[in-house]
């Protein structure tokens, strides 16, 4: 069963139940108060779901993890990586265009671009 059918099934089940009580379809001669409570129920449900959502949203946004440390750690590792790559680079081959190291390639590229 696709999600669409599941939803249609669920909604129509609830809808039928609601209609049953509100319009007294089976002639169960329910007390008038039942019908008065049932009639605006979908609207109440909607509003309470909305309030629940807003509260949860507020909470989750306020407590959303900012990961400052992850960013710092990454910055440090980038520095470390650049140094290490520079070392490896010069050790193993004379690199990019025969004179630049791996991490400086981008600079070379920008220089070339700026010529045009």
């Amino acid at each position: 069963m696709t999600k669409l059918l599941q939803w249609l099934f669920g909604v129509s089940l609830l809808g039928a139940l609601w209609a049953l009580v509100t319009f007294d379809l089976l002639d169960l001669s329910l007390p008038q108060t039942y019908r008065e409570v049932a009639w605006p129920m979908p609207f109440y449900l909607l509003i309470s779901f909305g309030c629940y959502s807003l509260a949860t949203v507020g909470y989750r946004v306020a407590t959303f993890n900012d990961c400052e440390e992850a960013a710092k750690e990454l910055q440090e590792q980038i520095k470390e990586a650049k140094e290490d790559l520079r070392r490896k680079d010069t050790a193993e081959f004379s690199s990019c265009a025969g004179r630049r190291s791996l991490v400086e390639c981008s600079a070379t590229f920008e220089e070339i671009c700026s010529l045009f």
Partner: protein
């Protein structure tokens, strides 16, 4: 490098992990991500290879990749370039063709996904023999760096509950909404409507069993933004097991992945398509 191959605790398991790195103009980031991958795989001792799928980057990413290949060896860095920018799904298919690992790890090459989580992914996978392990920004210690309040509100999972509420209110009041709220809200709408059993639908830091990824990619028709979501929704539909690992997502390039009007429309189409077919 290759000199420390002996007596690693995780070498003997017979498992091999192929990291697929689709790149486009990642000249500066590629050496760094590769360095980090080598570091963390080296420390944990798992058998691995890195497959760079460059889509004809004009900035010369491929040249950089070739140099990295010289540094780290052709058995560790594999190059599978393509002539021009094609879809993500085809990039995975293309990369997988030559992957020798029985597990595939996909991640972004822009350093927003940190390789330090890969050993955790692998551990998680082994724990429950999961078919796929997805990184999540919305659970446990997961999170995002570089988003302001507005962005957090829009991007965080439950902000999209707000959208769901607004979605209903639209029928009563029809207030005007910024498009980004719509687009990100649609993401949560997906959570509510599809119930995929994963908290981060659009994340792209994941580990798959190779044959699982193969069968998923075959069935997924979406492009761009919806693709990751379709992968995980279809995975659930096919009764694959999903594990989740909290990840920190460091958004260094602020303002990345802005969604235009066209993307929102295609997103909505993708969502409805998944809603009706899964």
């Amino acid at each position: 490098m290759a000199s420390r191959k002996t007596s690693r605790p995780n070498r003997d398991s017979g498992d091999k992990y192929s990291v697929l790195l689709p790149t486009y103009n990642e000249r500066e980031n590629l050496p760094l991500i590769v360095w980090l991958l080598v570091k963390y795989f080296g420390e944990s001792g798992f058998n691995y290879e890195i497959i760079v799928i460059d889509d004809g980057s004009p900035d010369g990413t491929l040249e950089v990749a070739e140099q990295l290949q010289k540094v780290y060896g052709e058995d560790k860095i594999l190059l599978r370039p393509r002539a021009k920018k094609l879809g993500l799904g085809t990039a995975y298919i293309h990369g997988m063709k030559h992957a020798s690992g029985n597990f595939i790890i996909i991640m972004d090459a822009d350093l927003s996904h940190h390789p330090k989580f890969i050993p955790e992914f692998i551990q998680k996978q082994k724990e429950g023999d999961y078919d796929l392990v997805s990184g999540t920004r919305y659970r446990g210690n997961g999170g995002v760096y570089g988003w302001d309040l507005r962005r957090k509100l829009i991007r965080s999972l439950l902000a999209e509950v707000l959208y769901f509420f607004i979605f209903f209110l639209l029928f009563f009041f029809s207030p005007p909404l910024p498009p980004l709220v719509h687009s990100r809200g649609a993401n949560f709408l997906a959570q509510v409507l599809l119930r995929p059993g994963a908290s981060d639908l659009t994340g792209s830091f994941r580990l798959y069993k190779k044959k699982v990824l193969e069968s998923l990619v075959e069935q997924c028709v979406s492009k761009g933004y919806v693709f990751q979501m379709e992968m995980i929704v279809r995975a659930r539909q096919l009764n694959y097991t999903i594990g989740e690992v909290p990840i920190s997502f460091v958004d260094r390039v602020y303002g990345e992945s802005k969604l235009g009007g066209n993307e929102i429309v295609s997103y909505a189409k993708g969502l409805l398509m998944l809603f009706a077919t899964t």
